[in-house]
């Protein structure tokens, strides 16, 4: 039997207390339309719950959205927890209201890409498809 193409699986999550998930849902739909299987966890998630869900779901990517300003702490914790659970190979990307000076710090901490407000959903989908090739 011939080797079939793997489906890309992505978990989209909103860590912390911010409850605004319109943006996250738009990304969920864009990735679905790009042919991916997207698991959405809903709002107000702890980093622990996000990391556990990512491991159980066997995803390739975790996309985090945060509009509250707590991104430095929350995103970094998700990355760290994934590594602790032996899932450091899961690629983390993020979006939301992220001030430019924070971006290099987050990237250094292991968030692969940050999509600030104004990013087109097509660019995000394209980036995921492109990055998936290295898996």
């Amino acid at each position: 039997m011939n080797e079939k193409k793997r489906k890309i699986r992505v978990l989209i999550a909103k860590p912390g207390l911010d409850g605004h998930d319109r943006g996250a849902k738009v990304v969920v739909r864009a990735l679905r339309d790009a042919g991916m299987e997207v698991i959405y966890t809903g709002i107000r998630q702890t980093p622990e719950a996000i990391a556990s869900a990512a491991v159980q779901e066997g995803v390739d990517f975790v996309g985090l959205s945060c509009l509250s300003g707590a991104h430095n702490n929350l995103f970094t914790r998700v990355v760290r927890l994934l590594r602790k659970k032996g899932a450091g190979d899961i690629i983390v990307f993020a979006g939301g209201i992220i001030p430019a000076p924070d971006i290099p710090k987050l990237k250094k901490a292991g968030v692969r890409e940050i999509f600030p407000p104004g990013t087109s959903t097509r660019d995000i989908a394209q980036w995921v498809l492109q990055t998936a090739k290295e898996l």
Binding site: D33, M36, E37, I39, Q45, A53, Q56
Partner: protein
């Protein structure tokens, strides 16, 4: 390599189990070898299917059943199926939203699956995913189908106990006497029982089920729940447990298990046969004659299919 994976999974390694589930879902041949080692260790879990129309409350109910089962000290696996887009091949798997509060509980393993072209509310890899959870020692495995209409009955061959979830406001009482989904339930759940039409729904359901002969020594009950608040869900878990006891004492447990094995086996045979046949048909040259005979009405489809099957599958006597 494979035995290492098997050992890890049997030892409770969630990451290894999740990766194997992924490989099985993606139909990676090497994963099937690992499954062999797990299959022999599975077969102890109580598999409970939850089916019903979209929005009936299946995920919320599953969430509350997980809670109730954890309170009893049971370990739980959840497999939740959502539809795949026939257009993009993508899927939004959103059942988890309702159950996410159990994510950090080590005794709960929740896995979302996309149907990937399978019909009837299940995914092809559902059986394999259940096997992995079962081998990991989960006491209870909840199998939530994608929202189904009137013919989503496949879950009956994939679970020991089938819950059919209905909610008020989805049509008149004739809907309740149609065939299909209303014949496969071991337990009927009228969810959203706070709704003003829920009594009416329970009544027409009762009428629809009246006179149905008990199956495996079990008369199908109707349980009212309000999953959002948790009302009735602990009782529901007790009824699920009672169904299991009834199956075990009436020796129907083996029969159901056998039926589940048969369904999974049949699914693989059908998939294999379909892939083989479409592979054969892809060799167009060989079939051009048949197709043109059919198009020009020189041959009829039944006879042509019969003779093709005889040739392809080497069946001597093909009806």
């Amino acid at each position: 390599m494979n035995s290492l994976i098997v050992r890890r999974i049997l030892g409770g390694d969630v990451g290894a189990a999740a990766r194997l589930m992924r490989d099985l879902d993606d139909e990676i041949p090497a994963a099937r070898a690992a499954l062999r080692g797990l299959y022999a260790r599975a077969g102890r879990a109580h598999v409970v299917g939850i089916t019903g129309s979209p929005g009936a409350g299946k995920s919320t109910l599953a969430d509350k059943l997980v809670e109730a089962a954890r309170r009893k000290g049971q370990t739980v696996g959840v497999v939740a199926v959502d539809p795949t887009s026939p257009i993009s091949g993508g899927a939004v798997l959103g059942d988890r939203i309702r159950m996410q509060r159990h994510a950090a509980d080590e005794k709960v393993f929740i896995r979302s699956l996309a149907a990937r072209g399978s019909v009837g509310g299940l995914s092809r890899s559902v059986f394999d995913t259940v096997t992995v959870l079962d081998a990991m020692g989960k006491d209870l495995i909840i199998l939530e189908t994608a929202g189904v209409g009137q013919d989503g009955i496949k879950v009956a061959g994939a679970a020991h106990t089938v819950l059919v979830v209905l909610s008020p406001g989805q049509g008149d009482d004739i809907q309740a006497i149609k065939a299909g989904v209303l014949e496969i339930g071991d337990i009927y759940v009228v969810n959203k029982c706070d709704h003003r039409y829920s009594e009416q729904l329970a009544r027409s359901l009762l009428l629809a089920l009246e006179g149905t002969a008990p199956r495996d020594g079990w008369t199908t009950p109707i349980i009212k729940t309000e999953a959002v608040s948790g009302k009735g869900t602990r009782e529901l878990l007790d009824v699920i447990g009672a169904h299991r006891s009834a199956l075990v004492s009436g020796r129907a447990w083996e029969r159901r298990s056998m039926n589940m094995a048969r369904t999974a086996f049949m699914e693989l045979l059908e998939t294999g046969a379909r892939e083989f046949i479409s592979g054969e048909l892809a060799r167009e040259k060989r079939w051009r004659r048949t197709f043109s005979d059919l198009a020009s009405r020189r041959a009829d489809p039944h006879s042509a299919a019969r003779s093709a099957l005889r040739k392809l599958l080497n069946i001597k006597a093909c009806k």
